[in-house]
């Protein structure tokens, strides 16, 4: 498959990490960072490639998490099947939100606000509905068997989330090189011009939203299997909406590896700040996120990946001289 080699190389290198005897603390950090990268990759499909900046990806993350948890706990559904249905649930919510917003022609800030509103409505509903455990939340029973999609070792969870990130990256890469991806980017760049060339912008945005919702929901499903607990604030809280959009923006919007790089950097800075503050200043990680975001927007609007490419262009091999007679 053309163009997939970088994905395989990065994934293979990362798969070797647990074999190097790293600590459980380090592995836990990486598992959470990869989970955020997965949520961010979902956001990236819609926001990075499609230019539709959602502030409410918690709606998909939370739906994935709740479907996975509630099906197992209340209906005794097998964890693997619940996981799959959780992803499907995220896709359905995305189809509903996308159908309503795109068909009514909401763009830009209006789209962002409406997605935020949907996530908040779901959060408040989940905090009172009996089926979600309301304010108490839902606890998944500890059952450390692969059949129950729970593992005794952190390394196994690490490989599981890495596999999910790999699948999402391959999907994104294939999308990038497909007609759908070309049209999605065209809609981002200029919706009217794309429409004039035969692109059904509403359908393209809706499809991107469904893929986006499914990927971010997978991160929510994984959250439940890893932490075995979910409540409305964790599932539908703004924290995940923010991290899902922050990671690709910092890593590089509209690039396959942007969310992964962004998630590692963002989580490392956040954890570092928390360690330095030592519990004295709750929310210090959010302050760090804010500062990083300002720096990125000021100095590398295309994210770390775009910034690195620029630096390589400036200090690496000299740029080829413009040939005469082009103008």
């Amino acid at each position: 498959m053309k163009g997939l080699a970088p994905v395989f190389i990065v994934v293979a290198a990362m798969a070797a990490v647990p074999l190097l005897g790293v600590s459980n603390v380090m592995l836990n950090f990486l598992v959470v960072a990869l989970m955020i990268a997965l949520a961010g990759q979902g956001w990236n499909v819609l926001g990075g490639y499609g230019g539709q900046y959602s502030f409410g990806h918690a709606a998909f993350f939370g739906t994935g998490a709740y479907v996975t948890a509630v099906l197992q706990v209340r209906y005794g559904v097998n964890a693997w099947i619940a996981f799959g249905l959780g992803i499907a649930g995220g896709a359905v919510v995305a189809a509903v939100v996308g159908g309503l917003t795109f068909r009514s022609g909401l763009r830009g800030a209006y789209f962002a606000l409406v997605t935020l509103a949907f996530a908040e409505v779901l959060r408040i509903s989940a905090s009172v509905a009996p089926i979600t455990g309301a304010g108490v939340g839902t606890l998944v029973k500890l059952d450390l068997r692969p059949a129950a999609l729970q593992f005794g070792s952190r390394a196994a969870f690490y490989w599981m989330i890495l596999t999910l990130v790999a699948i999402a990256s391959i999907v994104t890469r294939l999308l990038e090189r497909s007609r759908f991806g070309v049209w999605l980017v065209a809609v981002r760049e200029n919706e009217d011009a794309a429409t004039a060339l035969g692109v059904n912008a509403t359908a393209i945005k809706l499809a991107a939203m469904v893929i986006s919702g499914a990927i971010t929901a997978a991160a929510g499903c994984f959250y439940v299997q890893y932490f075995l607990f979910i409540d409305s604030g964790l599932a539908y809280g703004t924290w995940i909406s923010i991290e899902a959009l922050l990671t690709p923006i910092i890593g590089g919007v509209g690039t396959v590896f942007g969310p992964l790089l962004g998630a590692l950097v963002v989580r490392a800075l956040g954890e570092g700040a928390r360690m330095v503050a030592g519990g004295e200043a709750p929310g210090v990680d959010l302050v760090v996120y804010g500062c990083v975001l300002v720096l990125i927007i000021a100095f590398a609007p295309r994210g770390l990946i775009g910034g690195l490419a620029q630096l390589r262009g400036r200090w690496g091999r000299p740029a080829p001289l413009p040939k005469a007679g082009h103008g």
Binding site: V185, A193, T195, L197, N200
Partner: protein
């Protein structure tokens, strides 16, 4: 005369109290170049937006290839073979020239390899081969106009609506692009062009419609409309035709 490819029948478009297009009827014969001229604000671009589906007519019907297409959305009309360029060029600024044309080429070629080949073919035909890898927003005005044309052509249209593709070009650039447009027509593409550069209209168009204040005030061959006193007055003001006539007689 053959069945016209495009028939605009008594179309009107109202914006609040303003009747921008008022009971306009026009036709475009297959394989020919038809020009639409008129003073600024006459409603030419609005009429193009109606034909290409970006606006719905308040009244009237639009028929294309024998089927009524009034009110169809632009992407469906593009699939039927109607392509348009925009008066204010609309490149996908962050993408390369090749990727810009690729967006149009994908309409008829779902597979990437075939679409890239088609896009490069269209780019080369329009003299953009040296710029295929350049970001679209680094092109000159003339380059952008060619790109606008290339994107539309990549959809392999039967009917091409050109909205002032020559505006902003210098005389030598116009001399370069006029033969390109003529070649498209010779390949069988039906062209309707809005144009202010009368020298190009005279040399390219076989039939001209004149729009002023939302109404068709004259039609005919380029020579016929140029000699029409009503057309002269629409451009130069009331009484201009008689004054000019008097000046010629002296």
């Amino acid at each position: 005369m053959a069945e016209p490819l495009l028939q605009v029948e008594h179309v009107s478009r109202r914006f609040g109290g303003l009747l921008a297009v008022n009971d306009v009827s026009l036709t475009a014969q297959p394989g020919r170049i038809t020009a639409l001229i008129g003073p600024n604000g006459a409603g030419k671009t609005t009429l193009f937006a109606l034909i290409s589906g970006f606006l719905r007519p308040s009244d009237g019907a639009i028929r294309y290839g024998g089927a009524e297409v009034t009110g169809e959305p632009p992407h469906r009309l593009a699939r039927r073979g109607i392509a348009r360029t925009f008066q204010i060029v609309q490149p996908f600024g962050g993408l390369t020239v090749r990727d810009n044309i690729l967006v149009g080429a994908h309409l008829r070629h779902p597979a990437r390899a075939a679409a890239v080949a088609a896009a490069e073919g269209v780019g080369c035909a329009l003299g953009l081969e040296a710029m295929l890898d350049r970001p679209a927003d680094t092109l000159t005005v003339a380059g952008r106009k060619r790109l606008e044309l290339a994107k539309a052509l990549a959809t392999e249209p039967k009917l091409l609506l050109l909205d002032e593709v020559l505006a902003g070009l210098n005389p030598s650039e116009i001399r370069d692009i006029v033969p390109v447009i003529r070649a498209l027509s010779q390949r069988g593409i039906t062209i309707v062009m809005i144009e202010h550069v009368m020298q190009a209209v005279m040399s390219l168009a076989e039939h001209v419609f004149v729009l002023a204040e939302g109404r068709i005030i004259a039609e005919g061959t380029p020579a016929q409309v140029a000699a029409d006193p009503g057309v002269v007055e629409a451009y130069l003001g009331h009484g201009a035709a008689t004054k000019l006539g008097a000046a010629h007689a002296n």
